[in-house]
Symmetry: C2
Amino acid sequence: MRLSETTVAVVGLGLMGGSLAMALRGQCARLLGVARSGATARAALKAGVVDAVCSLEGAAREADLVVLATPVRHIVATIPGTAALMRPGSVLMDLGSTKVRVVEAMNSIPQESGVAAIGGHPMCGKEVGGLESADATLFRGATFVLTPTLRTTDEALRLARELVAAVGARAVVLEAAQHDRAVAVISHLPYLLASALVQTEAQASECDPITGRLAASGYRDTSRLAASQTEMMLDILLTNRQGVEEALDMFEAQLGRARALLADPEGLKEWMIDAQKRRRGMFQ
Amino acid sequence: MRLSETTVAVVGLGLMGGSLAMALRGQCARLLGVARSGATARAALKAGVVDAVCSLEGAAREADLVVLATPVRHIVATIPGTAALMRPGSVLMDLGSTKVRVVEAMNSIPQESGVAAIGGHPMCGKEVGGLESADATLFRGATFVLTPTLRTTDEALRLARELVAAVGARAVVLEAAQHDRAVAVISHLPYLLASALVQTEAQASECDPITGRLAASGYRDTSRLAASQTEMMLDILLTNRQGVEEALDMFEAQLGRARALLADPEGLKEWMIDAQKRRRGMFQ
């Protein structure tokens, strides 16, 4: 099954699903969209983001490839019922930001259904959500993690790789548990730091309102993720609690070290230079 | 003394001093520059950033307004000797990122010298330093804190306000202690969070190198300040230790609250929505 001959259904037309549909335009035979709200469905149709909108059931029955692009707990809850309606030989995929729970649900799809399934997580996003923020170029140059399941066939992996390449991303195949540990550190931890920073600013500004008024570009960037969609982020934190707690353990130890080093200028300088070198080498 | 009739000396031609000189071009009678390195002095002359380069002593003797734009501990150490060479009626100012220690040093300038002094801190910057990063528009739209001292005359405050307006910034007059408490929360804390996040990523990537490879725009922004100039940041942290420790106390309590709420989805959601609303309302 070539992507160009495939009917793709995107379930959830928010930032990620909407962007995926836009990026797949002209690269598959037909694009179906499933949206929670009628307004989003109408907007997607009107903007030509999809060829048709339908129910989840209709999409499951009709599509060769179904991509679940809703918050993670909804994806997990949706997998059994969706797979039960899909045709043998069709492929189920998702764009959820945590993968262990998704892969568990995909592993439970009855083998005799003949439905293949593979987890996916494109490493990109924006702090604003919704179809109105969707962007056909969102995935360009991004790493797109694929997590195989017990239901991943060679054909499903090939099709998933073709989809990743079609939207301009680079596929990286990982175990779900390895993925979840890594994103806890480089994605979920930064979100919690940003939110706790904003709560700290709020508390300090209650004592002295000048605090927030002095905020400039440094605060703006460090706190940006606190503006993320909370529905999506809540599901992420709740489905990766162990990874998040381990990342918090590591971070709190590092911050405690920084605090202790305030009494040791030479040691503090070394710690700062280490971080500076690593960060300057990271995004070139 | 009008700015347009003033000989201004900028001491330190890095990001802040260089940008100030560029922004003051054509708005004062003469611009003198003092640089630690001969290469920077030559580059500043060649690029027409200043009219002449000279020694700190020469600048102190000749200028009507001397602006110290070096790291804070250097500013503090430089104030007595510089003021001792300045003419009665001239004004000493600085661009240091912490103000209590600077104001203390300015308060100690002998009253009989007739030298006026006022602290300054423009709330803007970049994580890269040096004259090559300097930018005449850096101060545009920024808040520029002025901290009066025992040596601040009406005339000095007026000239400082004129300078702030001339570079396109908005003056806010604050007590030094109030300034230092506020910037500990919205500037120094974010720097430490970014650096501790990078150290956490480094530690996690030692166990599994995929961690850093999955970093995307969220990590990039949250960690950006870790790339800041360490010489400048070290001085900031060391001259505002109490403020930084109080900010760390508040932040650690907030992060501990987030961790506890991982077991309470409804409470976590509320905490996340609070932070989201506050952050979305902050930068419009």
